[in-house]
Symmetry: C2
Subunit: 440 residues, 2 copies
C-alpha cells in the first residue's frame, strides 16, 4: 500500500550506508515495535517468505521473555527499550503498539532520526497523520499506513493511487468488523443487542470493553483517514458525529426486512457545495446494496467518483494475518519506491463539516398502547413539515411495550431530531425513539 502523506526528495539524514551500495542491492533493516497478534504475523510472513530487500533485525516489546518466539533467526535482537531501537541501524520502524501514547511520541522520534515508519495505528494517523508526514518529509523518510483502515483490504493504495485520476465525492463503508458481526448475529437470531454482544465477546469478536467499537469511535478514526485521502478534507475523528448500535434490536431487522433493507453500522462522508457531511451510525441499507451483503466481520469501502462511478473494495478488515499483509505490502512499497516519491498535489483542506444528511428515515417508537397515539405523533411530524411514508406494526408484541415503525419521506436529519424531542416527551413513549436513516 503506497500510503503516505509523502516525504520524498528532501535530503536524507544520517543513513549514509546507502550511498555505498547500488540501489538494487539496498536491504532495509526492519524493527517491529509491538509484538502482539499483528506483530507476530508480520514476523511470520517475513520469515516464511523472505523478501530480498527486507531484513527483520529487531523486535521491541514489553515482556520480552514471555513473547520471544523460537522460529525467528537468532540475528533478530529482542528488547523492551525503544531507545535501543532508535539507536540501532534499523531503517524502518513497524509501529504496532496502537493508541496515541506512547505511539505518537515514539513515531515522531523515529521519523526525526530519518527512520521510515510503517504503522497500522488508525488513531495515530487520524489524529496526527499530516503532522507526522511533514516530519517524515523534513527528514527524508516516509510514513506509510496502509494497515490503518480495513486491515488487509488495499483501500488506502486504491484511493491514493488507483483512483487518483478521479474526482471522488462520496465514500461509505463498513469499517468495524465487531459491529458488523454483532448486527449480523442480531439479524440471524432475532437477538437483543446485549445477547449478541455477549456471544461476540465469547468468540473473541468483541473486547471486554466494547465501547470503542459499538459507539463508533473506532470507525470514525478510519473514516477521518479515508476522508483525508479520498475527499482531500482535513477532519479530526471527534468532529465526526457518531451514534451507537446499542439500541438496535431484532425487531428492527424484522421491520427493516419489510422495507427491503437490513441494518449496518455505516460510516459515510460526502462533499456537497464545499461542505463535508460525515457520520458513523446504524442505518437501513437496501438488500440490493453492497453494504447489505457484508457479513460477519468483513469490511467494505465504496468510493463514488465523478468519472468512474462506484468502486468497491472488500475483504478481511481485521485479524493478525490480513493486517500483516497490509504492513508487509507497505514495506515492499518502501523498497520499490525508495525515497523518491514526490508529494501528492491534493493536500487536505479544512472545510465546514456537518452530520445533517438528508435521507428517508426509519423511526421505531416503543409505546404503551393507548387510543389516539398515532394521531399525536402524526401531529408533531406534520407541525415540523415532515411527510410520513408508511406505518408498520407487526402483531404479537405486548401492549405495554409495543414497537411500531413510521418511515418518513426525505428530509434533513436535524428536522427529524427536533421533532423527536417533542415526540419523546409524549407520555405513552416507553423509551426514546430510534431514528435511523434509510440509505438510497
Amino acid at each position: 500500500m503506497a500510503a503516505s502523506f509523502d516525504s520524498s526528495l528532501a535530503p536524507r539524514a544520517g543513513r549514509s550506508f546507502e550511498a555505498a551500495v547500488t540501489p538494487f542491492a539496498v536491504v532495509r533493516k526492519v524493527a517491529i515495535v509491538g509484538f502482539g497478534t499483528v506483530g507476530c504475523s508480520v514476523a511470520r510472513i517475513l520469515s516464511e517468505h523472505p523478501h530480498p530487500s527486507l531484513r527483520l533485525t529487531q523486535v521491541c516489546t514489553r515482556s520480552v521473555e514471555r513473547r520471544r518466539v523460537s522460529w525467528l533467526p537468532s540475528r533478530v535482537a529482542w528488547t523492551d527499550n525503544f531507545d535501543v531501537v532508535l539507536a540501532s541501524d534499523a531503517d524502518v520502524i513497524v509501529e504496532l503498539i496502537g493508541g496515541l501514547d506512547p505511539a505518537a511520541a515514539w513515531v515522531r522520534r523515529a521519523l526525526a532520526c530519518g527512520k521510515s515508519v510503517v504503522t497500522a495505528n488508525k488513531q495515530l494517523i487520524a489524529h496526527y497523520g499530516p503532522e507526522l508526514s511533514e516530519i517524515a518529509r523534513q527528514h527524508g523518510c516516509r510514513l506509510l499506513y496502509g494497515a490503518s483502515v480495513a486491515g488487509g483490504v488495499p483501500v488506502i493504495s486504491g484511493l491514493q493511487d488507483g483512483l487518483a485520476g478521479d474526482r471522488l465525492s462520496k465514500i461509505s463503508g463498513i469499517l468495524n468488523g465487531t459491529c458488523n458481526y454483532i448486527l449480523s448475529r442480531i439479524e440471524a437470531g432475532g437477538l437483543s443487542f446485549d445477547v449478541a454482544l455477549k456471544q461476540a465477546q465469547k468468540l473473541g469478536f468483541a473486547e471486554a470493553d466494547p465501547t470503542d467499537d459499538v459507539a463508533g469511535y473506532d470507525a470514525r478514526a478510519k473514516l477521518a483517514i479515508l476522508v483525508r485521502l479520498a475527499l482531500h478534507t482535513q477532519i479530526l475523528p471527534n468532529e465526526i458525529a457518531c451514534s451507537p448500535i446499542t439500541p438496535i434490536h431484532g425487531v428492527d431487522f424484522a421491520y427493516a426486512k419489510e422495507l427491503g433493507c437490513t441494518i449496518r453500522q455505516v460510516s459515510r462522508a460526502e462533499l456537497k457545495d464545499e461542505c463535508l457531511f460525515a457520520s458513523v451510525q446504524p442505518a437501513l441499507v437496501p438488500f440490493s446494496s453492497a453494504l447489505a451483503r457484508v457479513q460477519d466481520s468483513l469490511n467494505l469501502v465504496m468510493a463514488t467518483g465523478q468519472y468512474g462511478g462506484e468502486t468497491v473494495f472488500s475483504g478481511h478488515g481485521a485479524g493478525g494475518d490480513p493486517t500483516a499483509v497490509a504492513v508487509v505490502s507497505d514495506l515492499i512499497s518502501l523498497v520499490k519506491a525508495g525515497k523518491h516519491v514526490t508529494p501528492s498535489f491534493a493536500q487536505p483542506l479544512p472545510r465546514p463539516t456537518s452530520n445533517d444528511f438528508t435521507s428517508r428515515h426509519y423511526l421505531r417508537f416503543t409505546i404503551k398502547d393507548c387510543p389516539g397515539l398515532l394521531a399525536q405523533i402524526a401531529t408533531v411530524l406534520s407541525k415540523h413539515d415532515i411527510n410520513i411514508d408508511a406505518v408498520l406494526q407487526h402483531p404479537g408484541y405486548e401492549r405495554a411495550h409495543l414497537p411500531f415503525v413510521v418511515t418518513l419521506d426525505e428530509c434533513p436529519n436535524s428536522v427529524v431530531e427536533r421533532a423527536m424531542e417533542e415526540v419523546n416527551a409524549l407520555d405513552f413513549l416507553v423509551k426514546p425513539t430510534l431514528n435511523l436513516p434509510i440509505l438510497g
Copy 2:
C-alpha cells in the same frame, strides 16, 4: 495505478531537459494516441481538472478534422502521423488505439526513444507485456497499464502494491461486461442467447461482431495479465482454455436457480502444486457468492491469499470515463514516482498449465423423450466412475426437445468431457450436452 513491469533506475536517454529543472517542477508532456471514447475522456479529465505536473501537448488520431474538439486549448497539436509524436518533446505516450498492429510497433518505438507509455490495451500487455517492460527498463522509462484490466477498477495496483505482502494462490472474476450484460438479460427475461445478444447490440453493450466477448477471448487476455501479476506465472492468452456463452439459455438459469445458483462468465486461475489451472467459461455460481451479485456490465475481481483471505475489487470495467480514470491515475503515478521505481522481485515464471479443474458439474441434456434414456446416460457416467448428485426435470417442455439436468459430484473436467463424448453419440440427444462447472 502503479502498474509496470518496471523500468527504473537505468540511465535515461535523450531527455536532457529534466536535468535543468528541480524534480518538483517537472511537468510531463503528454501525447494521446488514439482519440476514440477513452482518449476523449482522458483529454476531458486533464482539461477539467488540470494536474500541475501533467500537460496535454499532442493528440494523434486518424481523421483529425473529424475528431478535433473545440474545448482543448490551442497549444495542443493535432496530427495523424505517429512519427510526429515520436519526434516531439512529449514525455509520455498514452496509447489508446487498441489491438496489436500497429500498437505493438508504436509502443516499442516510443519506449526505445525513452518515452514512457501508459496504455489501456489488454491484448498488447497480455501478449508483449514482459518484452515491452524490458525495453522500458533498458531505456530508462516506464510502461503502465492500469486500464488494461477491469477499466476503472484499481485491481492492477491492488494486486501489485496493495496485496504485495500476501502470497496469492487464486484469482477469479468477471472481466467482460458484455457477457455479464447478456447473461443478466437472459436471467431477467428467460431469453435465448440470440435475443439477449440483439438487445445488447441495440443498446451498445455488444459489438456488431461479438465474437471476442462471447467466446471469451477478451476475458482471457485480461486473465493472462492478472495471472502474471497475482500468481507470478507467465502465460499467453491462447494458452488459456475458453468456452463461449452462446449455448446458455433461459432454461439453464431456471435449473441453476433450483440449485441456489446463477450463471456467469467466470475467468479463473489457481496455482496448485506449481501447476497453473486457468480457464474462461460460463459457470454456475452460488447466489451467496460475490460473483453472482455482479449485475449488468460491472466487473469484479476476487483474489485469494494465504494470509489475507479473499479480497474483492469491483466497479465499472469499461466505458470511456472509468477507463480514463485508470489512465489518468497511471499518469499521476508516473509523476509521483518518477523514474525511481526499482523492479519488483517476483518475476513471472513459466509453469505447466491446465484447464482441468476439479469441481461439481452441471450437465444439461436436450433430448427426444423416450423410455430408458436416463438409464443409458447413467450407465455411461458410471462407466467413467462419475457419481450423479441430482437429476432435475422441470415440466412443460415439448417432448421432442426436452431439456433436463444432471448434476455430478466433484470430479475432474477431463473425465466429464470424455464421458460426454460417449453420451453425445446416443441417438436421443438433440444437441451436444452443455457441461458447466458448479463453483464452490
